[in-house]
Amino acid sequence: MSIARNAVHDYQDARTLTMSLIDLANPTKFLALTARVLPWLAAITAILLAIGLYQSATAPDDYQQGATVKIMFIHVPNAWLSMFVWGVMSAASLGTLVWRHPLADVAAKSAAPIGAAFTFLALVTGSLWGRPMWGTYWEWDARLTSVLILFLMYLGLMALWRAVEDPSRAARAAAVLTLVGAINLPIIKFSVDWWNTLHQPASVLRIGGSTLDRAFLIPLLVMAVAFTLLFLTLHLAAMRNEILRRRVRSLQMLQANSRAA
């Protein structure tokens, strides 16, 4: 008897948990929650960014690279986020295709321009670093080329979103393309191991511990966390904008309908 009661209890627990998740997925609840969370998130992001930038600025010069090593503190978080954002979009695309949830569409759509911006910044900072270090702004090596392909795919995805008026139709098409494009992520990650490239292999997250000195590692990690929070802040804000934009659109459609009738 007690086992049965426990089972019922567990079932109800699981049910309340999924219910609260569904509640969160309700756009109105989402708007209310993010309105409360966003200012805090923005404040934490600003503080962490300030700390990270200060630590990067006061970090010692590298014995080989000199002051150019500081570009790394911007470049690496951007590059990491360029892939992370595509990962977020892929997860959202699964939500679109499997559960057909409009909030997943919104998440995927509003992440694309932000991801494109991070990718662009990773490419620019990388080439600014490459000029004094490698003697060239651009080199067609595997890591650089695969990131450039990622950038092109971001732009293609944005073009796809802009090409179709009906948002849910565009969402499903974009979701398929996003999941296909996710194949590029492991290629980018492992390109430095698979091919002999000019770009150095991974040095922060690797088996056997980081090869970076603590003086560089700590500012880099702070910057990485700060940039991730920056993405979260921007993404939530962009999602709010997109939800409001869709509401305005449907209100306009209603108005046009009632006028026509």
């Binding site: 295709l97 080329t145 392909i149 092109l152 795919m153 732009l155 293609g156 073009a159 796809l160 090409a163 179709v164 139709r169 565009a170 499903r172 098409a173 979701a175 398929v176 393309l177 999941l179 296909v180 494009g181 194949i183 290629i187």
Partner: protein, 222 residues
């Protein structure tokens, strides 16, 4: 199985008849290759060096050009709806359609390669190498391009959008296709490694392409 072969046979027949437009791809391929000497100058040595790259680029553009036909014609006369509703799995039907499209539009490009290689001052071995890499690589172009074609047909947008979506996906094929043919002609790397990666890309696209195209057709058609 017979339904699939019937589908393949039907698609090839439609592509080769009047209005099918499969052989326009070859004509386009020829035009691109003929344009090149005007752009880089009629220096035969330079042309021989650039030859594999020009042929690969021409084949890539030509296969991109014909991709638009893969689903649109069927969508216009609604036979695509019948294919979606039929009892054969949509993934297999997509694979069959892509195979038919490759036979009708991709194979002629490879057949035309020796003639075009002559125009570019390529010797027999180089032409054979390029033709072999095209044979291994163009299926990957068709099968990844099919994803873009399926997206384009569900969105009622073809043309430029299709090209923008498909071209980034076909970059790896171009890289390894040209690398393998260059390796066969000038060395010093071996022909085997890039060629095997090219074959792997094709095999990979056989799996990913039909599933993604079928998913986008199922989600997008209404």
């Amino acid at each position: 199985m017979s339904a699939l072969t019937a589908l393949i046979r039907r698609d090839i027949r439609i592509a080769l008849r009047v209005g099918g437009g499969a052989l326009i791809g070859v004509l386009f391929f020829l035009s691109v290759v003929v344009l090149m000497p005007f752009a880089v100058g009629p220096d035969l040595k330079l042309l021989a060096r650039l030859g594999p790259a020009i042929l690969w680029l021409g084949a890539l553009l030509a296969s991109l050009l014909t991709l638009d036909r893969l689903f649109t014609a069927d969508h216009e006369d609604s036979s695509l709806d019948l294919i979606v509703m039929s009892r054969i799995p949509l993934e297999l039907a997509c694979a069959a359609k892509a195979l038919a499209h490759w036979i009708a539009a991709g194979l002629p490009l490879i057949v035309a390669t020796p003639v075009l290689g002559l125009l570019l001052n390529l010797d027999t071995i180089s032409t054979a190498a390029v033709a072999l890499t095209l044979l291994a690589g163009t299926p990957a172009l068709t099968f990844t391009g099919m994803i873009g074609a399926a997206l384009a047909v569900t969105l009622h947008r073809g043309g430029l959008l299709l090209a923008v979506l498909v071209l980034p996906l076909s970059i790896p094929v171009l890289i390894f296709g040209v690398a393998a043919s260059e390796a066969a002609i000038t060395g010093p790397q071996t022909f085997g490694a890039p060629f095997l990666i090219l074959c792997a890309l094709s095999l990979f696209s056989f799996v990913v392409g039909p599933f993604a195209a079928a998913a986008s057709l199922r989600q997008g058609l209404d």
